[in-house]
């Protein structure tokens, strides 16, 4: 019975998170077009529903009923497998994100943490492991299409993801050193008590009133954000897609639901990256002021609201960057990744670890 209650609660939590992520993906497709339009002094989609708010539903129906084409020269197995390979890792990472406070609730005699699906002790590594698998979908999709533009897009994606994944991994090491844990829940809990204790400022680690300066994670945060934009293949790092030169890269031959899978994977990855950035650097569900304003159970939902605000802030930043910056050239991309971001991330690790070693 206990096992059953626990499993049931877990399934409900997973379902809620999945539905929320899928809805957010739908909202983002519209939000991106609207935000881009407003930044370019246009109106964006206006036809379907008032102010075009039903556009995601129309898009979804269109993609669902489109003819599913597999090119005759394509490798059927890998062509079908690639969208799934890129979609699953994008969703699986949400399992370890703490969406709210680490509280326990008794339900039929079983302790359940309502705002956390699971707290595994290697949380952040688990996310890194699965995001690195997402690259296979892109590479295999490009290869299986039997199209030279797709193959080029896939190979570019491989090189880009490997290069920038390294920077993502190195950028978060400072946070891990400060928190002394790989668990996302522990990392979030250690940033309680207001904006100054968030890892991006870093005063919450008991290093005195002035000595927090060396452990501030601003550099780590900036490197993480830039590298994660590159890892999600977003502008200005969207060389694997590069609409104007590779006609959408690895996605050229895809249509209908398979294309929708790639599309959903890209947006789900954006949400996941924003969630991780919020938890690691911006205190997760903690408010910028100490404690919560609302009492009791309402306070938990205040935490979730702050988490949502932070995630949407990051997502807006993704759109903003897309509207502002032109695409990099391929050699610029590689030089920037290896010669600018990598040394910055390494310097951040060295400074943080020396400061923690001598000051704690």
């Amino acid at each position: 019975m206990d096992m059953l209650v626990f499993a049931g609660a877990s399934v409900v939590k997973i379902a809620v998170v999945m539905v929320t992520v899928l809805l957010t993906v739908a909202v983002l497709t519209l939000a991106e077009r609207k935000v881009l339009s407003w930044m370019q002094d246009r109106m964006g989609p206006m036809e379907v529903g008032p102010y075009g708010i039903l556009q995601p539903i129309a898009d979804g129906i269109k993609l669902f009923f489109k003819e599913d084409i597999i090119p005759s020269g394509a490798n059927w197995l890998l062509f079908s497998l690639a969208p799934i390979i890129s979609l699953i890792p994008a969703f699986i990472g949400f399992a370890v994100v703490p969406y709210g406070p680490n509280v326990e609730v008794e339900l039929y005699g079983v302790t359940i943490k309502p705002f956390i699906i699971t707290d595994i002790n290697i949380g952040i590594l688990y996310v890194l492991a699965f995001t690195s698998i997402g690259a296979y979908g892109v590479i295999l999709g490009g290869w299986a299409s039997n199209n030279k533009y797709s193959l080029l897009g896939g190979l570019r994606a491989a090189a880009q993801v490997i290069s920038y994944e390294l920077n993502v991994g190195l950028a978060i090491i400072g946070v891990i050193i400060l928190s002394g844990s790989l668990s996302m829940v522990t990392i979030a809990e250690k940033q309680a008590g207001g904006i100054l204790n968030w890892n991006i400022i870093g005063m919450g680690h008991g290093l005195g009133i002035w000595w927090w300066i060396p452990v501030t994670q601003v550099i780590g945060f900036v490197v993480y954000f830039i590298a994660s934009v590159a890892e999600t293949n977003r502008l200005p790092f969207d060389l694997p897609e590069a609409d104007s030169e590779l006609v959408a890269g690895w996605m050229t031959e895809y249509s209908g639901m398979r294309f929708a899978f790639f599309f959903m994977a890209e947006y789900a990855n954006m949400i996941l990256v924003s969630c991780i950035a919020s938890v690691l650097f911006l205190g997760g569900y903690h408010a910028p002021y100490p404690g919560t304003l609302l009492p009791g159970i309402l306070g938990y939902f205040e935490g979730i609201a702050w988490f949502t605000v932070k995630v949407y802030g990051f997502l807006f930043l993704f759109f903003w960057i897309r509207a502002t910056l032109p695409r990099l050239r391929y050699d610029q991309l590689m030089r920037f990744g290896w010669k600018v971001l990598l040394p910055l991330a390494l310097a951040n690790i060295v400074i943080t670890s020396i400061a923690v070693y001598f000051l704690r």
Partner: protein
């Protein structure tokens, strides 16, 4: 439950490992290898070594195998059946490996197992300390020298790769 998952992971690992060498299409071989890496990570998880499982996926599946895929795609080996002709070599090496496995299994399986209680205690201690810390402490105390030697070898390999890739680095005449 633990035995069941072990046999699941073990059988999939053996099956996919055979597929890696048996499949004709090299890209399919790489996919089989990817599935195998996943199941090896699963074995680590059943042993409560979650850190090793994550590293297994990040390093092997996330980085090394992507490079394999890269090379396989660029070389376009689809019609190359040359490695199917190495049956004699394969048989010889396979027999040696088989003899080795039989020797190991007969040594391990024959005596009764007095060590079972000890491993359970060690496992419990590891889960308390957190296996990431355990691995880190072992690397920087007991195995410090091998660890440093390994990093030196990797550094040498890296420099070697750079010199081989950059043809003009040895002087102007190499251009």
């Amino acid at each position: 439950m633990a035995t069941l998952s072990f046999f699941y992971f073990g059988s999939v690992i053996v099956l996919t490992a055979i597929l890696v060498v048996a499949l004709r299409n090299p890209v399919h071989s790489v996919i089989a290898l990817l599935v195998m890496f996943f199941h090896i990570a699963g074995l680590f998880v059943t042993l409560h070594a979650e850190f090793l499982a994550a590293v297994q996926l990040i390093v092997y599946a996330g980085a090394i195998l992507v490079l394999y895929l890269f090379v396989v795609m660029i070389l376009n080996l689809q019609q190359d059946d040359s490695y199917q002709r190495q049956v004699k070599w394969g048989l010889g090496l396979g027999l040696i490996a088989l003899a080795e496995i039989i020797a190991i299994i007969s040594k391990v399986a024959l005596p009764e197992e007095p060590a079972s209680g000890k491993t359970a205690a060690g496992e419990a201690a590891e889960t308390i300390a957190g296996n990431t810390e355990t691995v880190g402490k072992a690397l920087y105390t007991t195995y410090l020298f091998p660890f440093e030697v390994a990093s030196l070898i990797l550094l040498v390999a890296m420099i070697g790769a750079i010199i081989m890739a950059k043809k003009g680095i040895m002087g102007p005449e190499a251009k």
